[in-house]
Symmetry: C2
Subunit: 436 residues, 2 copies
């Protein structure tokens, strides 16, 4: 059969990986698709020393690929939003299918681009945009399509998970581990996107849209990073039977959808709590199946390439057919009935740490404030005061309560004369429905 | 759009679950498919008290569904092989797509049925046949389609995993825990299929075919159950840092494919070692992504229904198109190049336990035998001999070695005067490539 012709835009880490896996597993992939996948053109600014592109038509103009009438599928791996958006849009208009690993592009401009793709009867696929090599978009959109999804909770940023794991194993500070991660190449020189949760929020935006059939709404996603997490809090969490993970959580409640990225205490016996280093995992809890978990490499050249090529194979397998697989798993228009709840309205349990004067009466004041806000304490840890110290650390785990109530209580507690400095607040999730 | 009409054959546990999930999530599923799924007919021997089938055409003749010209998809949930095979074949010949949860049917008669389906241009889908609600067939066939698969290793029988988990937690015997599992409904009155690994072998046969592009060959799958596992071995394994799980393992080696179901020691820190109770998980190790793990409920009415309906949705989404998705992930004919290795040729590490006289020289004899067979010892545990006892338990972990060598060594060791009774042999797998 006639080969499917693809054009790869961008031959950096992911582009290079995609090129190499396509070349290495060429015969295997052709057997699976029923016809060969041919790399007809590559657009790159500079050669990738890890790729032998001899014999392939190369250009430095990405738009040449979008305009190339021979090409069936444009593979966008240049990253960024501006050029990528123009490029993808141009490919769509010229009747090409598009595969991209660009989470920011889909999270921010996906509504527009996917509507455009539908109009032009082409597909835009982005499995590689979330959790790298783990086929979790496919799982949500197809494998679990019979289910009403309650919760998606994922470790979806490998850099953040590497840092938290290392902080825990070594008892080191965030700053020290970040430097180490940068030296190892696990963190960027400017790590903001990863450690402040923006990258995870892009991914969560996409997962939530597929899980709940809502439009992509990155701007509604609450985002809190891990730069404020201390070795002390990790240690206290451990003493209480929890580990701190940077989770993206999307949860459907009767009132609306919670959409939030933040550090989270989870029980240490859960599988999700034991996903370490740069690995990713996404937990999906649904009505029919209950909890499922999808684990694997969330980044890296070849894991991401695997997802890019899976999308290419999917499109190639059905290229002669009209397309019935909606990109976000639902036929348009997507529902606007479910709104994203403001953070104040979200409900979680909390870990609170405060520094209080070591004399009787303080605890009474604190517990009265909590009680007035309807906050129940599930566990309490009061650390020994050493000689010469004036303040003792008090750690509390609360039952599930609205964020607003906890914020009110914290303001009142911080105003007490006997409490020193700020109250540390970390959200907690028992992931109740998970046996493991 | 016109509804897709399905006929459900069998309204037992899985049939009832399928009916209920389809009814409960009707609107959601229609939004995802783009058209409604209508249950046009049900064939059942007796009513299911958990299902309100009023308004649905009901028959006690499964063949009436196969012959019903209104029906697009026949859902085979009657189980067993004889009638199921005739039924599925009749549906295929009459131009219907088929969805089935029947692992035995696919593992034993799949080659024939899938060839027939191809001839008649219909699809036969069986996601529910492996690991219940976990969409692992889709993951292998589509999500990881860019990859060369090295290893598939799964906990794919919930009953067996429940029993091993309970034996470990309580220190109880196999027989005691089995009775308990039977009382709880987790094990059948005749538990042979589950505890002797036949059910897992059916599932592994299917996974291996998709992973490696080989024909289904159930008869080539080595099958060993868990009825010989003792609380003692579980305890010794624990002392050495391992847990015993009943795994289905398919591994591609240069020489051929290993295809085997047996109890296996795995390092206790692996995620797979921490999958407890009736839960299932499948670990897939590939060239591009590395290890991925898929976890969830492997049985039960609604988890299995989720997989059945996912297949229905897949077929429905593409029902107007020519089909390009090969049922086993490869275009036919499947390769016969890769043969399944005889068990003697498989390579694993081993746990060996023997009872030896407590005097010097015995260990020398044993280690000489092992050395002559090229077997290296990785760890050794010699249990204290209590007063009045003549024999001491010796536990050894070996490096990776061919099964034949270990069998030879065991024969020689058992022939020693100073060794009492049989040597217990349990295979071991470090799952080396898994970070978690």
């Amino acid at each position: 059969m006639k080969p499917i012709k693809i054009g790869i835009c961008g031959l950096g880490t992911v582009g290079g990986g995609t090129f190499n896996v396509l070349m290495r597993n060429k015969d295997l992939i052709a057997q699976r698709v029923g016809r060969p996948i041919e790399i007809a053109q590559i657009a790159m600014r500079r050669p990738n020393p890890g790729c032998d592109t001899s014999g392939v038509s190369v250009t430095d103009d990405v738009y040449a690929v979008a305009d190339n009438p021979e090409i069936d599928i444009l593979v966008e791996l240049i990253g960024g939003c501006e050029t990528a958006k123009t490029l993808v849009s141009r490919a769509i208009v010229s009747g090409k299918h598009v595969v991209t690993a660009n989470k920011a592009l889909i999270a921010v401009h996906g509504n527009e681009l996917l509507a455009e793709a539908e109009k032009h009867k082409v597909q835009v696929a982005f499995e590689a945009a979330v959790a790298g090599g783990i086929p979790v978009i496919k799982a949500l959109r197809e494998g679990l399509a019979a289910n009403k999804v309650h919760t998606v909770a994922g470790i979806i940023n490998g850099t953040g998970n590497f840092i938290l794991t290392a902080m825990e194993k070594k008892g080191s500070s965030f700053a020290d581990v970040l430097s180490e991660a940068q030296a190892l190449g696990y963190a960027e020189a400017d790590p903001t996107f990863d450690v402040e949760g923006i990258d995870a929020a892009h991914k969560l935006t996409i997962l939530a849209s597929i899980a709940f059939g809502i439009p992509l709404q990155f701007e509604q996603t609450y985002t809190e990073g891990i730069s404020g997490i201390t070795a002390e809090d990790i240690q206290y969490a451990h003493e209480l039977g929890y580990r701190i993970k940077h989770l993206g959580i999307a949860r459907a409640r009767k009132e609306g959808i919670e959409l939030r990225v933040h550090p989270t205490l989870i029980p240490e016996k859960r599988l999700l709590a034991n996903v370490d280093g740069v690995m990713n995992a996404v937990l999906v809890d649904t009505d029919a199946v209950g909890p499922t978990l999808f684990y694997g490499a969330g980044a890296g050249a070849e894991p991401t390439a695997s997802a890019v090529i899976a999308d290419i194979i999917d499109i190639a397998r059905g290229i002669d057919s009209p397309h019935h697989m909606p990109a976000l798993g639902y036929q348009r228009p997507l529902s606007n009935e479910l709104t994203v709840l403001p953070m104040d309205e979200t409900e979680t349990a909390f870990y609170l740490r405060m520094s209080a004067a070591d004399h009787p009466g303080v605890m009474t004041q604190i517990t009265r404030i909590l009680s007035e806000e309807g906050i129940n304490i599930e566990a309490l840890l009061q650390k020994e005061v050493f000689e010469g110290e004036q303040f003792a650390a008090i750690i509390m785990l609360t039952h599930k309560v609205k964020e607003r109530a906890v914020n009110n209580a914290i303001t009142a507690i911080e105003a007490l004369d006997d409490v020193n400095g700020q109250v540390v607040k970390i959200r907690m999730d028992h992931l109740e429905h998970c046996n493991n």
